[in-house]
């Protein structure tokens, strides 16, 4: 998460170019200034907070992508306000110009920060740890001790090169990158030190995290652009095909072409719903939906049987097919006065409550003297409230009942203008039954038939089927999104938990007196363990010196990494 704010703060002359002091800044100058501003930490932080804020309105207002009908409803309820909000793309908040500008600027800022840091980090990996500070005593966790081993125990006294060689191998074994430095030489003392650094992964993880975020953004964009999703209500026994003609609604990505639709068909053989019957507190709660389907691709002669459940989509033809909803489709038949069938269909009724009281519209455009429309409720288990109104008391079909109000006239279908199948435009229809007309509404149980008013014919309820609402989803970049997400998470863990620190061990050989050893460390980023680590290093170093094999490192000078300092 660290970002070089200092870049800007360290160069004050470039940070505050004003029109007054530098009237001839020029386009390039302004561009550089703007770029520096954009890539500064402060701007990134500001954009982050702005992004959080800008995400809020989208949760308060219905969104076209998630809930197009909700938007229509909002327009109906707030005819004055809605168009104004729409101007500001409030109903498309997450693709709006303001939201997009914020995250694009944020990612631009991120790129501007990550690129130079990657370069810098790659260079840092290849360079040795920096020189040991002259005065370790100012560093955190500083420990100084005098070695009073005069060599009696081990045969020879520990020299500064011995101590440093031991420290060097100790640190190397722990994964530190090390470099040995010669310090100030006076006639009284020789100084040798090892400088060690670890935790390059911290910065690497940080970079991976940010780059992966960029990867997520791009792959999400690609997936959204080339993908699609579509919805279709399918009644038991019917078939949906993955062509546009078969969808009830279809939401294409920006670069969607028809050719992306892979040909297959799915026939809903049966939708089985299980309801809780034992637990009296949860009686009627659905516990399982299983759609048994026959899936068939264009090339295969025969389909295969499979199931689709909530949480268990069917993968077919590069798409996933999800079971998203269910309801009842009463089988309604309308006859003309001579008893000739003019309309017969399974009409999906939309559930209105958890006991599946369902609302539906039947449109009979042909075959009768006049077009008729019927609007009514289906109750899977009819119950009567105290005020005489019907309601459904259980979601399964126990005592089904269909009530319909009849309208006649012009359904508005002949003009070629799209109409909602779930509403009846009554502007050019005459109501024939229901409260205002004095004619009782039609009430039907399965197997029963009733006359339509005005001698129009009759209507019967022949049975009840279930329908399933399927969603087909195609996202070609989904796997990539997941890959980048995993990278981002890994990067995040690494960048927050791998400590990056420097450790130093200095050995000062004094002409008169014992060998002095100094230890210190420096945390780069949050490192709660630093002092413990320095202490443990000192401990282990002493132990190593005590147990050293006097012959092995005797006088050997680690020439190869010694850097002479001035």
């Amino acid at each position: 998460m660290t970002r070089s704010t200092e870049r800007i703060d360290a160069e004050p002359t470039e940070r505050t170019p004003t029109a007054v002091s530098q009237p001839r800044l020029g386009i390039i100058g302004w561009g550089r200034w703007a770029w520096r501003q954009l890539t500064s930490m402060r701007t990134a932080l500001f954009l982050l907070l702005l992004l959080a804020l800008a995400a809020v309105p989208g949760s308060l207002f219905p969104q076209r992508t998630a809930d197009p009908n909700g938007v229509v409803q909002y327009f109906k309820e707030n005819p004055g306000l809605a168009p104004i909000l729409d101007k500001f793309q409030v109903f498309d908040a997450y693709t709006s110009f303001w939201f997009s500008s914020i995250y694009l600027l944020l990612f631009l800022s991120l790129i501007g920060c990550v690129l130079p840091r990657t370069v810098h980090h790659l260079r840092a990996i290849r360079t040795a740890p920096p020189r040991t500070p002259a005065r370790l005593s100012r560093m955190p966790g500083f420990i100084a001790l005098d070695l009073n081993d005069d060599g009696k125990a081990t045969g020879s006294a520990v020299t500064a090169p011995d101590a440093i060689a031991a420290a060097r191998s100790l640190l190397r074994r722990r994964g530190y990158r090390v470099a040995v430095f010669e310090g100030a030489q006076t006639k009284d003392s020789t100084e040798l030190s090892v400088s060690a650094e670890r935790g390059y992964l911290r910065e690497a993880g940080n970079l991976v995290f940010h780059i992966a975020l960029l990867g997520i953004l791009i792959t999400v964009g690609i997936g959204g652009g080339f993908g699609y999703n579509g919805n279709r209500v399918v009644v038991e026994g019917q078939t949906m095909i993955n062509t546009l003609a078969a969808y009830d609604s279809f939401n294409p990505g920006r670069f969607f072409t028809d050719a992306e639709l892979s040909p297959y068909s799915i026939r809903l053989d049966k939708l089985a719903v299980t309801y809780e019957t034992q637990n009296k507190d949860a009686r009627g709660l659905p516990t399982d939906y299983t759609a048994t389907v026959t899936a068939r691709t264009q090339d295969s002669r025969n389909g295969y049987k499979t199931t689709i459940k909530v949480n268990e989509p069917l993968n077919i033809g590069g798409t996933n097919v999800y079971l998203l909803g269910n309801g009842y489709a009463p089988h309604i038949t309308v006859r003309d006065p001579r008893g000739h069938v003019v309309f017969s269909d399974f009409v999906p009724f939309l559930p209105q409550d958890s006991n599946l009281t369902s609302l539906g519209v039947v449109k009979v455009p042909d075959g009768l003297q006049q077009q008729i429309g019927m609007m009514g409720f289906f109750y899977p288990t009819k119950a009567v409230a105290q005020n005489g109104a019907f309601y459904s008391s259980y979601p399964d079909v126990k005592a089904p009942m269909l009530t319909l109000n009849v309208y006649s006239g012009d359904l508005g279908l002949n003009g070629g203008v799209p109409r909602s199948v779930y509403t009846l435009d009554t502007s050019r229809l005459k109501q024939l039954t229901g409260v205002s007309t004095g004619v009782k509404s039609i009430e039907l149980a399965p197997g029963y038939s009733q006359q339509l008013p005005d001698g129009l014919g009759s209507v019967s309820l022949d049975g009840v089927s279930r329908f399933a609402s399927f969603q087909v989803n195609h996202d070609p970049a989904q796997g990539w999104v997941l890959l980048f997400t995993v990278c981002a998470f890994g990067g995040l863990l690494t960048s927050l938990f791998v400590p990056r620190r420097r450790l130093w061990v200095k050995a000062i050989g004094q002409a008169s007196g014992p060998l002095r050893l100094e230890y210190a460390g420096l945390a780069r980023g949050d490192d709660p363990q630093l002092e413990t680590v320095v202490e443990t290093l000192a401990q282990n170093h002493i132990e190593a010196l005590r147990n050293r094999d006097p012959g092995a490192s005797d006088g050997r000078h680690p020439e190869e990494d010694t850097r002479r300092t001035t």
Partner: protein, 338 residues
Amino acid sequence: MTDTLSQLSLLLIIGAIAIYAAAFVTFALDLARRRSPSVTVISAVARHAEAETPTSTTRLANAIGNTGVLVRQSTTSADAHEERPQTSGVLRAAFVLTLVGFGLHLGADVLRGIAAGRVPWANMWEFSMTGTLIIVGVFLLVTLKYDLRFLGTFVIGLVLLLLGIASARYYVPVAPLPPALQSYWLVIHVIVAIIATGFFALGFALSGVQLLKARRERQETDARPPQFAFLRTLPKWAALENLAYRMNIVGFILWTFTLIAGAIWAEKAWGRYWGWDTKEVWTFIIWVLYAGYIHARATRGWRGSRSAWLALIGFSAVMFNFGIVNVFFKGLHSYSGL
């Protein structure tokens, strides 16, 4: 059987609430007693010795033995368990009460799970019950490492408030899982979100105390009359800030995981991994706020009080997401069984 168990679970919750209430009072009493200068309470993290002190009692000195002589060792911050802090009996009592309350709470939660035959976090009531349990659990767990008992008033206060609202408003009898929730992602996604909330709660409390403490320290330097006497006994604001950061990054990582797991589950259940559902939006907002907090901490001029404010805003969003979005917003997550 199910009925008996869930009844028992409810009884245990009521017991837990009672004990927590006692713990809350006792914690508050402890804070109040810290006003009086006669009581010396030293919190371990409060022992913030800047002085370079020669010590002869450390493990290091023992290790050196007669091989060398420790000349100097500087300590800038204290190891929490190096030296047992002196604590008041009141604080100890409050802590014991919390432990007892936690035991009852845990029992209630487990019984509810057994009664339902599944994980006990599938509706608002269960979510509240497990959520508060985890908040206390995280508090106890973190106390093993850092002595944060001075936060007891806040933590137990928050838990009492949430449990109180939940038992008054959200209690529902045991019901089977609706098909939409029948997924192992329910186990993973929700529990990780709850644990993240536990850490965020501690981070929130620490950031809050940090702000108060910073204010008091300013008052002290400006020789104005310092407010809130109990703050005197707490660690310096910088130490509190450090701790708050640690809590919040653990929370942030868990929250990131929640977000990812949620997306994977959403892909399985709803056919898209991200759809700007209200709950998704708020989860995202929280994530961005805490990302902002982490960045703020690395931004010159923002480290300290400003970033602490961000942590406070972040946790407020967490609470909003839990209490308001779940209940009042229309969205795909609203099968919370109210």
